[in-house]
C-alpha cells in the first residue's frame, strides 16, 4: 500500500502594517509577508517623518541649532541638545565649567529615566493592548514619568523640550530646594517601577510573550551597528558613557547594565535596571555638585556669538536609545557647513527584519517595541 503524503500549500498574504497603526510607534510602515499567522518576511519602510533637520541646521547658527536638535528624539531631548553642543565645543575647544558638566549629567540621566519609563509603558501597552492590562501599567509608569517632567518644568520652565544645554554650559541653574524634589521624584519612580515589575515579572503571560522572542545575536547586533540597551541586552558591554566619557561621567560611579539572552526579555531587563542606575547617577551628581559658574562663555547675545574654526568633528553621547553621534563639518563661520546625525533608533531599527522572521504577527509589535525606535530620530 502506497503511503500518501498530504501536502499543504499556503498562499502568502501581504499585510501592510502602518504607517497608520496603533503600535508602530509613530510612522513605521512594515509590509508583512505572512503564511497564516507566521511571518516570512518584513519589508520596512521609513521616512514618513522626515523633516530635513540636518539641512535645516545648515541654515541656522550653532546657537539656534541646539534647541532645534531637541525635536529629533523627543523622548530624550537633552541628549540631542548635548550632542550638538558638544560637537561645537570640541571643534571650538570650549571648556565647560565643572558645575555645568554635573548639571548636564543630571539632566541627561533624568531624561534617560523618563525615556525608559515611556518605553516600558508603551512596550507593555503593545503587549497588553490599550483595552487591557497594558494600559494600566502604562498609566502607572506615565504617572511616574510625570514627576520627572515636573522636575524639568521647575528647573527649565518647559516640560518636554527644556532647551537646557547651550554651547559652553547650561542655561539654567537649579532652583532653590531642588535636591529634595529630585529625591522625592526618584523615590516615586523607584516605587512605581518596582510595582510594575511585580506585576509583570514572573507573570506567566509576560514571560511567555518575551522569553526567547526576537533573539539578537551579539555578532549580528554589532554588524548592523546596534547600540545602547539593544546591544547591551545581547551581552556586549558597550556604553559611550564608559567608553568615551564626556561631561562628568568619568567621575560617576555606575555599572554598564548588560544581559546575555539578547531576547525581548533581556532588553526589558536592561532598560529597567538602567532606570535604577540612572537614578543612582542623578543622586551622585546632585551630591557632588560643585559650586561655580554654569557657562564658559558670556551669555549669548546673537546667533554669530559662537564660531567654530574650519574642520570636522564627530562627537557621540549615550542617549536613551544608544550611541547618538553628530558629525559636524565647519567652514569657519557661525553655521555648520554640514551636519550628519548618527541616530541610534535608525541603526537599531535595522535589526527588525532579522528578528521577526519565523515569529507570529503578535510578536512583531513586541519586537518592534523592544527596539525602542523614536521615529523623529529615525527619519530626522
Amino acid at each position: 500500500m502506497a503511503t500518501r503524503t498530504l501536502e499543504f500549500t499556503f498562499d502568502e498574504m501581504r499585510v501592510n502594517m502602518g504607517p497608520q497603526h496603533p503600535s508602530t510607534h509613530g510612522v513605521f510602515r512594515g509590509v508583512l509577508v505572512l503564511e497564516g499567522e507566521e511571518i516570512k518576511d518584513l519589508i520596512p519602510h521609513i521616512g514618513y517623518l522626515h523633516r530635513g533637520v540636518e539641512k535645516l541646521a545648515e541654515h541656522l547658527s550653532y546657537v539656534q541649532d541646539v534647541p532645534i536638535m531637541a525635536r529629533n528624539d523627543y523622548l530624550g531631548p537633552v541628549h540631542n541638545e548635548l550632542v550638538m553642543a558638544h560637537a561645537v565645543e570640541k571643534l571650538a575647544n570650549i571648556q565647560v565649567p565643572e558645575r555645568a558638566q554635573y548639571l548636564r549629567v543630571m539632566a541627561s540621566e533624568l531624561h534617560r529615566i523618563a525615556s525608559h519609563l515611556v518605553w516600558t509603558g508603551t512596550f507593555l501597552l503593545d503587549m497588553g493592548g490599550a483595552l487591557g492590562g497594558g494600559s494600566t501599567m502604562f498609566l502607572y509608569l506615565f504617572q511616574a514619568r510625570e514627576s520627572i517632567m515636573d522636575l524639568y518644568e521647575e528647573w527649565t520652565g518647559a516640560r518636554f523640550h527644556p532647551n537646557l544645554v547651550q554651547i559652553g554650559g547650561v542655561r539654567f541653574d537649579l532652583p532653590a530646594g531642588f535636591d529634595r524634589k529630585v529625591k522625592e521624584a526618584l523615590q516615586t519612580v523607584r516605587n512605581t517601577v518596582n510595582e510594575v515589575r511585580e506585576m509583570v515579572e514572573g507573570n506567566p503571560v509576560f514571560e511567555q510573550r518575551t522569553r526567547g522572542v526576537g533573539v539578537l545575536s551579539p555578532e549580528l547586533a554589532q554588524s548592523i551597528g546596534c547600540s545602547g540597551p539593544v546591544l547591551r541586552a545581547s551581552g556586549v558591554a558597550y556604553d559611550v558613557r564608559k567608553a568615551f566619557p564626556y561631561d562628568a561621567y568619568d567621575k560617576m560611579d555606575f555599572e554598564i547594565v548588560t544581559a546575555t539572552a539578547g531576547d525581548v526579555r533581556a532588553r526589558y531587563e536592561v532598560r529597567i535596571n538602567e532606570i535604577f542606575q540612572a537614578a543612582h547617577i542623578v543622586q551622585q551628581a546632585l551630591e557632588g555638585l560643585p559650586e561655580g559658574p554654569i557657562g564658559a562663555k558670556p551669555p549669548v547675545k546673537a546667533p554669530v556669538a559662537v564660531k567654530a574654526p574650519k574642520g570636522e568633528v564627530y562627537f557621540r553621547v549615550e542617549s536613551a536609545r544608544g550611541e547618538l553621534g553628530a558629525y559636524l563639518v565647519s567652514d569657519g563661520s557661525h553655521k555648520p557647513y554640514r551636519l550628519k546625525l548618527r541616530s541610534p533608533s535608525f541603526s537599531n531599527l535595522q535589526a527588525i527584519q532579522h528578528l521577526v522572521r519565523g515569529h507570529k504577527v503578535a510578536d512583531v509589535v513586541v519586537i518592534l517595541g523592544s527596539l525602542d525606535p523614536v521615529f523623529g530620530d529615525v527619519d530626522r
Binding site: 502607572y140 520652565g157 532647551n163 511585580e198
Partner: protein, 176 residues
C-alpha cells in the same frame, strides 16, 4: 504554585491602586500653579514708572529666533529707539526662550500661562498691541526669568547662589 502567586500579584497591585486617590487634575475647573520659570505666552513690558515701552527695537530677538517668527521694525525717535512694529507668530514658536535671554532691556518676557488659544491662525499671531496687552492681562503671571536674570544666572556674580531680579535699567541711561 509559584506561577499562581506571580499571576495573582498583578491582581493584588491593581486592587491596591483601586483604593488610591486618582491623580487627575480636572483641568479647566482646576488649574495647576505653574512654576516660576514656566515658559508660556509672550508679553512686551513697559516701564512701570513712566509707562514707556521697554523695547528699543534692537532686533536681537529677531536674529536669534530659531524659527524666525519675530519681526521687529525699529523706529528712531528723539531720545531713544522704539519698535515701530513688533510681531511674533505663535503658530511656529518652539518656546526655546532664546529671545528672552538676549533682550538687553528685559522688554520681551514669557508668561506663566500655557492656555493662549484661538479660533484662527490670526488669533495666535501676536501683534505689538496684543503683546503689550498681555502684560496687563497676565499681570501676576509674568515670569521673573527676564533676560537679565537669565544672563546673570549664566555668569553669576559670586557669591550669588540664586540671583534675584534686578531693578530694570532705565531706558534713559542707554542714551547719551
Amino acid at each position: 504554585m509559584g506561577i499562581v502567586k506571580e499571576t495573582l500579584d498583578s491582581l493584588v497591585i491593581t486592587l491596591k491602586n483601586l483604593a488610591r486617590k486618582p491623580v487627575t487634575v480636572q483641568y479647566p475647573r482646576e488649574r495647576r500653579t505653574m512654576p516660576e520659570r514656566f515658559r508660556g505666552v509672550f508679553a512686551l513690558t513697559t516701564n512701570p514708572e513712566t509707562g514707556e515701552e521697554n523695547c528699543i527695537g534692537c532686533r536681537l530677538c529677531q536674529n536669534i529666533c530659531p524659527s524666525q517668527i519675530i519681526t521687529v521694525i525699529p523706529e528712531k525717535r528723539e531720545k531713544r529707539s522704539y519698535a515701530k512694529d513688533f510681531t511674533l507668530d505663535m503658530n511656529a514658536c518652539i518656546f526655546c526662550g532664546l529671545c528672552v535671554q538676549v533682550c538687553p532691556t528685559d522688554a520681551i518676557v514669557m508668561v506663566r500661562a500655557n492656555d493662549e488659544v484661538g479660533y484662527s491662525r490670526e488669533d495666535l499671531f501676536l501683534t505689538k498691541e496684543k503683546l503689550l496687552a498681555n502684560e496687563k492681562k497676565y499681570q501676576d503671571l509674568i515670569s521673573p526669568m527676564t533676560g537679565s536674570v537669565l544672563r546673570n544666572m549664566q555668569t553669576p556674580p559670586r557669591p550669588a547662589p540664586r540671583p534675584r531680579p534686578k531693578p530694570q535699567p532705565k531706558p534713559e541711561e542707554k542714551k547719551e
